[in-house]
């Protein structure tokens, strides 16, 4: 007989509930739960069970674990990766910085992209636009220098200086 699979959550009891989730990139994520953990995760309660959240939550926690090796804790709110494993939610806005490394892979599979596009609070909008513009200008400048087009490089450099000043002020 095959060796019994253990519960992915408590890692103590044998698993009795098995899930396989196929992501949009045809990646298989397997999840095995024991009765108690399935119940604790709300599997038996149709009002609170959110399969996707559970799968994604576990996936991310594993990624975070692999990425850092030791258990990380958010310096601001004390939230740990074990807490993320339990709930699939983060503790505070700062957690996104704390767990950034582990989260990036997860965000890639979960969303269309990993960089926000769209609305920003008005107070930050200008800074955000300026940062984007600066990046574009710097790329153009590098290209102009490479092409030995010093006239447009000088113009670009001046523009970058002005914009850099504005961005620094509004920060």
């Amino acid at each position: 007989m095959d060796e019994k699979k253990m519960c992915s959550v408590c890692k103590v009891k044998p698993a009795t509930v098995f899930f396989t989730n196929v992501s949009s990139e045809n990646k298989f994520i397997n999840l095995n739960l024991c009765d108690e953990c399935a119940k604790a995760k709300g599997f038996t309660d149709s009002t609170s069970f959110a399969m996707a959240d559970l799968m994604l939550g576990l996936g991310a926690a594993q990624e975070i674990e692999q990425a850092v090796g030791v258990e990380l804790k958010c310096p601001r709110c004390g939230f740990s990766q074990a807490d993320f494993k339990k709930s699939g939610r983060l503790g505070c806005p700062e957690c996104y910085r704390t767990f950034a490394e582990g989260l990036s892979g997860l965000l890639k599979t979960m969303h269309k992209g990993t960089r926000h596009v769209g609305k920003a609070p008005e107070a930050l909008r200008q800074t955000r636009d300026n940062v984007d513009r600066l990046k574009t200008l710097q790329k153009k400048l590098a290209k102009a220098i490479e092409d030995e087009n010093y006239e447009s490089a000088a113009a670009l450099r001046d523009e970058i200086r002005v914009l850099g000043g504005v961005a620094a002020k509004s920060r």
């Binding site: 709110c77 969303h111 992209g113 926000h116 920003a120 008005e122």
Partner: protein, 312 residues
């Protein structure tokens, strides 16, 4: 400010569900998730911190011009029945109904805006419109959000956008959804391939009360799943395109069924649509069934508009 009972006893005009394509699209909704920069998310925050957030958010929301005539209450002041009614009117989620101290709610009189405080995120604000009006709902909630960001410090990151408790809502924090009544596609057995192709486009199809609920009464909710990497406008437009196609398929399916009926081939479920008095058995299939049978009959001029459906 209204008290809960006068509010719940007299549903707003907008809940009568007259809107573009209301034969099929019962309502359109856009929800935005927002959090305050300096506080832990509600699921992790301790009670005093949640109360602090509630005390900061409730007055800020109530003071908005859109909310001038509104109902505003802490969740612990509502009874289980009040909460149930609010869930059924899609003004709060079932998760929010389970909340008590430290959570709250603001709903305007017209029931076109509702803001849940300390649900999964500090703010979950939605614009609800009758019929197919996803774009209008987005414009309305965008305006409300812009007014609110002047008073509250939202957690925002240049790379990741609006920061939310669950990474699935990160970025725009937007969930655009429409509630569709699709008996034609269900009866003609076209619904499953349609759900599959909608899923392939990165959209979710769910039951009446969102995630994990059944499609009672042939009512389906279609919504976006991804929130990061695309702008709100792109997300709204994609949903609009998909909805237009579903509407077209449903219209065709209904037309075919009507033609079949004219030829004497009556579907088992179909009599409900023009003999409401005989349809008790269908109405009893689920608690939510009665409300959703008449729109089809009404839409096609089969059942008089205001005739009640519980048999008379």
């Amino acid at each position: 400010m209204k008290d809960i009972h006068s509010f719940l006893c007299s549903p707003a005009e907008s809940t009568q569900r007259h809107g573009p394509h209301d034969r099929i699209v019962m309502s359109s909704r856009v929800r935005l998730a927002r959090n305050l920069r300096d506080f832990a998310f509600p699921g992790w925050a301790k009670k005093p911190e949640r109360v602090k957030v509630l005390e900061a958010v409730l007055p800020a929301v109530s003071a908005l011009p859109e909310m001038s005539d509104s109902f505003c209450e802490a969740m612990d002041n509502l009874t289980a029945l009040d909460k149930q009614l609010l869930v059924e009117r899609h003004l709060i989620s079932r998760e929010h109904a389970a909340k008590n101290v430290g959570s709250g709610l603001v709903v305007n009189r017209a029931e076109t805006f509702s803001v849940m405080v300390n649900e999964e995120d500090h703010l979950r604000m939605q614009a609800l419109r009758p019929g197919f009006q996803t774009r209008e709902a987005w414009q309305a909630i965008d305006k409300l959000d812009s007014a609110l960001e002047k008073k509250l410090n939202f957690a925002f990151d240049n790379e990741l956008g609006y920061l939310t408790a669950c990474p699935t809502n990160l970025g725009t924090g937007i969930r655009v959804s429409a509630m569709l009544h699709l008996p034609g596609l269900v009866l003609s057995e076209q619904i499953n391939p349609i759900i599959q192709s909608v899923n392939k486009l990165g959209l979710a199809v769910r039951g009446l009360y969102g995630e994990g609920t059944e499609a009672l009464g042939n009512v389906f909710q279609v919504s976006n799943q991804m929130t990061l990497g695309e702008s709100e406008t792109v997300i709204v437009e994609r949903l609009e395109k998909v909805l237009s196609q579903i509407i077209e398929h449903e219209e065709n399916a209904r037309q075919t069924l009507l033609e079949k009926k004219a030829q004497g081939g009556v579907q088992p479920y179909w009599p409900c649509l023009w003999h409401p008095g005989k349809c008790t058995q269908y109405f009893l299939q689920g608690d939510d069934e009665p409300a959703f049978v008449p729109p089809v009959g009404r839409g096609h001029g089969i059942v008089p508009r205001y005739r009640t459906f519980a048999g008379g």
